[in-house]
Symmetry: C2
Subunit: 314 residues, 2 copies
């Protein structure tokens, strides 16, 4: 058996929230406690092979799988055609949940693959490869979820051409509560209802809030974070797709949340809180609101994780 056959890694790749309120299309964050687990092994057989997928019905064929496609992009740029990687995936994030299911798989694949290649690539390159998974998943190679999945914490995508992603400071005691109502909202539908033009005065209010949110993160000013968590552009339109959205927002804030909004393109809704107790009180409030609705749902409570994909024990 060759030396390379022995090299293996197991990684945890976090769930993520994209479109953090005012930060539509630019600000995302990573969860600490929820994510996919993946094992990757260097192999003498060239190319990418997915040996098993647990927890979701997704294609094993690498070229049809977001994790496979992302890892193929990495290997192609690595430029040694003799290298092969085998991968097994344990999905803990339900596809379509709005907390970056495809991004977690794509990010875990490329970050894990990079560990097997002695961290040959920079985080920026990994984001670029993982975006190829997003291209397969939704038609657009966006970085909203793969950036926080790879870098951890809060991230800002300043620009795509060239790709310019900034890892922001993440306050230690910031938690997120996410409710995933198990109804289907297609990303394409959620995008289709947006208007291509917006009022300048609304746009100004939005970028004032984005600046304030970033300032609040750096200064760990939870009050400022709370005031800045406002989306006057997208939320008023998309929230109609989500059952009880306004009730959720108002009552979760009464229960102690700093604020929140739609996670990604929905249907999940996230709320940020200072501290675990508040985050759990928000979860209880979400249950109170959703239990009588007759809609299945799942609730996640997690600190904002400051590390992205990380190696865990096999």
């Amino acid at each position: 058996m060759s030396q390379t056959n022995k090299r293996s890694v197991k990684v945890f790749s976090p769930a993520t929230v994209a479109n953090v309120a005012c930060g539509f299309d630019v600000i995302g964050l990573a969860l600490e406690g929820t994510g996919d687990e993946m094992e990757l092994h260097l192999s003498d057989k060239p190319g990418v092979r997915i040996t098993s997928i647990e927890g979701a019905d997704l294609p094993l064929e690498a070229s049809q799988n977001v994790a496979g496609v992302a890892l193929m992009a990495l290997l192609q740029e690595y430029g040694k055609p003799e290298i092969g990687i085998e991968m097994s995936i344990k999905k803990n994030i339900h596809p379509g949940s709005g907390i970056g299911s495809s991004a977690a798989s794509a990010a875990g694949a490329v970050a894990g693959g990079n560990m097997l290649l002695d961290n040959y690539f920079s985080p920026d390159a990994l984001i670029r490869f993982a975006m190829e998974g997003e291209r397969l998943a939704c038609g657009t190679p966006h970085a909203d979820n793969v950036a926080p999945a790879i870098l951890g914490g809060f991230t800002l995508v300043r620009s795509y051409q060239p790709l310019d992603v900034i890892k922001l400071h993440t306050p230690q005691d910031l938690w997120v509560t996410v409710i995933h109502p198990q109804i289907e909202v297609k990303t394409s539908d959620a995008r289709g209802i947006l208007k291509q033009q917006v009022l300048l005065k609304d746009a100004i209010r939005q970028w004032g809030n984005v600046g304030a949110l970033v300032a609040g993160l750096y200064t760990e000013d939870y009050g400022l974070i709370s005031r800045a968590l406002e989306d006057v552009i997208v939320e008023p339109i998309r929230s109609i797709l989500i059952p009880a959205f306004h009730d959720l927002k108002i009552r979760c804030k009464e229960a102690g949340a700093l604020g929140g909004g739609i996670s990604g393109s929905g249907p999940s809704v996230f709320m940020l809180s200072k501290g675990e107790d508040n985050a759990r009180a928000v979860a209880a409030m979400m249950e109170n609101i959703y239990a009588p609705l007759g809609v299945d749902y799942k609730i996640y409570v997690s600190r904002i994780g400051n590390s992205g994909v990380k190696a865990i024990n096999i």
Copy 2:
């Protein structure tokens, strides 16, 4: 002579740049070396009196003068009708220059007045009073210039209702070079040519840049500040009112500027630089470009001042 008659203060009130690139209508900054000087004295004669104005032809009648109106708003809220303040103003900032001439006078008046009242009011209240000066000057009580004039450094106006102004972190070695072409651009004209609607994709790019600029300020990442100094919404429209604007931008960056844009509603143009040497090289480049144009101009070079209005020796 009563005790109060003796109490006097002299203040320096800085010039300011509003609409810092992507931060249109929300981000401003204060200069350290350029500003108005004002002397204020408590008086037994109730009300506000302006005893002299040097350097500009402006009304002495308090109710017609931005500094007077701002100070009257402060005294009214103070609620002791027997109090009077006399004020003399030395204008070093040319009205209409686009670097906050009216704001400097209004800010200096209320901050100086507050010193005479043992700092009774918070900085937020002072901003609110100074905005009354702006209402007189241009019809709208905006905070774009009075906020940095009072707080110093970089400021962000997150919201007007309620007023929410944040002082951002200012990197130590950040300098600004401003050229004031002595042509008239009326604020009302500059505002009139803006479109009320903008493309969502442009707005997203703008708020990505705002977030990045704020992050760059907190992390003192001059490269990031440079990349974020982009305005895809207002500058493409307003820059047509300013002679040689695109030449200025390109060649000042070649000369070492991080980037820049239109100061306020123009006609001044500002460029940020790391360090005094770069800021002076940028000034020389501005001269090179403007000298052949046959337009009078004035150039200011200053560190970004971290203090706003401050007491100086009488």
